[in-house]
Symmetry: C2
């Protein structure tokens, strides 16, 4: 590949679009004629204001967000959101409903408990190693909110459609499928996404929060942990992670102007998924680990007949320029993370490699 | 200047060393032969591990830290530290001593109060618009810790030497003078520094914490707000801000290998300060705002006889390629931030410009 770059199937931090990387590189010593690097400009300058506001406008447009929604950029990753959510939205005497679909949901639940607050795990797929997304969930009508993880990076599952919570605000960790497909944002009280999978580099979390949620934020919590601090100051209460936000802005610009928007992106992602799952299902050699109706279009998890073969597969893939195919250290196996920036040609090349490997070893 | 770059006197985000920017640019599409950008590699890869550990080793060496100290990288800026410090180190029934030397100390004090904890402002320079560093402070012998802001970006003051707290752990916000001069770390329980002034880009805060402090961290606080989460996982509990840490590593490498270490850096910084303060003191046209014995070697704040003249100065300076000279929006006037990456030639050029401006307008 160009510049000796590999096919990058990392789960996160993950591949970024090559035109984005090239634009960063080419303007790195002098951003927008400022005579400074983007890492050296003031966060209160017109230059950065334009970057930040463009990222927000594009997010609103891509996701068709109405006036009720605020787009914020917060540091600390999705892991900090796990504690901020109950801190901001779970008052005394209230309880929240959580659906447990794996590692990240489990961590989110843990952070509610640490604060001594009430959480009800209304559904879980732990009984089958988190290999499916629970269906027909009975939510508690008095829940302050319902929390889900829209895509599960470790286990390779994804909500095909979102549950009807009957008006209870839905909160979703969309770290690993944000901006990969269309969805209706209106039932969501809050959506958050660590950038380092689909929308940018590590170091910033995008948070989309609805007006009515902000009214619930208590006064007596630390300033940096209040969503209102970010909504009232347009994410500029203190110095934001400028470079990460700048990269997110470029990725969103690429999504709109090069890819052609979210409809087109979803179409490409579906094609990518079909290609690789068809290879797995047609083989008898590779075995998908997620239930077919819960399969992720972002993280394709699969196994082979034994671990030595998996090791050989990963080794030979690496030698052939395919990176990041090792499964999460907690579950083993193989995983191809095919986020937005992993193009269809990368997936085709991987499928070809998988077929060749099968022929030699099957 | 090279690549049409300006002389950057921004208060933060601020100038970065040109060789650091060039190295980032040159390897941006393919980091260390990985075939990926540094923004695309896994935080659990050998590539990133080397970056992180090199940043830590260099910090230890530059600051001569003994085994008791841990070097951590945390998101959220110094502002998040304001709340984490009392959350981790101020137990029930305890009280902390804070010295108020301006905007940032004031914010740090506010965050203790928000948590309903006891804070004693044992000294303040608010009576004279924070233009000096208080002396002969009587600390409370039962204070859990003493908090200071080592350099005050807004008012241009700096602690010339640190107070003797008689064994009470000293905690310092060193955001704006970290790695600019030598100091003895042993009295410090914790040191923190938002990177975007002296040691890197926005998006990461360096935290240096002593073993005995970590033993005080309570169990029942959110995972991402516990210092032990970062010390136990070498700042890799969740995805860290990889790009920001990488830039910090390169800045520290530059400090050691190009500048020649902290002794040399301090010598250069003293020379830079002498040059610009001599220009101010010798003029009768420019007036320094900080008390001479409390002057900062990082942020040089000065005024002229009237605001129109100051506006003219900033306008003409900008036209002549000198950026970031406007005083903080809360106090007005002029300010030249001369952090490590603002070389002596930049300061000499500024002094020449100031002399010319004085001749024309004095």
């Amino acid at each position: 590949m160009k510049n000796n770059r590999i096919y990058n199937f990392n789960p996160g931090p993950a591949a970024l679009p090559l035109p984005v990387l090239e634009e960063i590189r080419d303007s790195f010593l002098n951003f927008a004629g400022s005579g400074m690097s983007v890492t050296e400009i003031s966060h209160r300058s017109k230059w950065f204001e334009d970057v930040l506001n463009d990222a927000i406008v594009r997010t609103r447009r891509i996701l068709k967000l109405d006036e009720r929604f605020h787009v914020l950029f917060i540091q600390g990753g999705a892991s900090l959101q796990f504690c901020m959510i109950p801190m901001n939205f779970l008052g005394q005497g209230q309880s929240a409903d959580y659906v447990n679909t794996g590692t990240w949901s489990t961590k989110a639940i843990k952070e509610v408990k640490i604060q001594g607050k009430s959480v009800k795990t209304v559904a879980s797929s732990e009984d089958k190693e988190f290999s499916y997304i629970p269906k027909n969930i009975a939510f508690n009508s008095d829940a302050a909110y319902v929390h889900i993880t829209s895509n599960n990076t470790v286990r390779g599952t994804q909500w095909a459609s979102f549950p009807d919570t009957k008006g209870i605000p839905l909160i979703a960790d969309m770290s690993s499928d944000m901006m990969s497909r269309r969805f209706d944002a209106s039932p969501f009280g809050l959506i958050y996404a660590g950038a380092q999978k689909n929308i940018g580099p590590a170091g910033v979390c995008m948070v989309i929060v609805r007006d009515d949620m902000l009214k619930q934020v208590p006064d007596n919590i630390p300033t940096m942990l209040k969503y209102t601090t970010f909504s009232e100051k347009n994410s500029l209460y203190n110095t934001p992670p400028c470079f990460a936000i700048y990269t997110v802005q470029l990725v969103l610009k690429w999504l709109e102007e090069t890819v052609g928007g979210l409809d087109k992106m979803e179409e490409i992602n579906r094609k990518k998924g079909e290609l690789i799952y068809a290879c797995i299902d047609g083989s008898g050699f590779y075995r998908g680990t997620a239930a077919p109706d819960s399969r992720s279009l972002m993280n394709v998890t699969f196994r082979m007949s034994d671990e030595d073969l998996e090791k050989k597969f990963i080794k030979e893939a690496t030698e052939n320029g395919f990176g990041g195919l090792k499964g999460h250290r907690s579950v083993g196996g193989c995983r191809a993370s095919i986020y937005n920036a992993s193009g269809i040609e990368a997936v085709k090349a991987l499928v070809d490699f998988m077929k060749t490997f099968e022929k030699k070893n099957g």
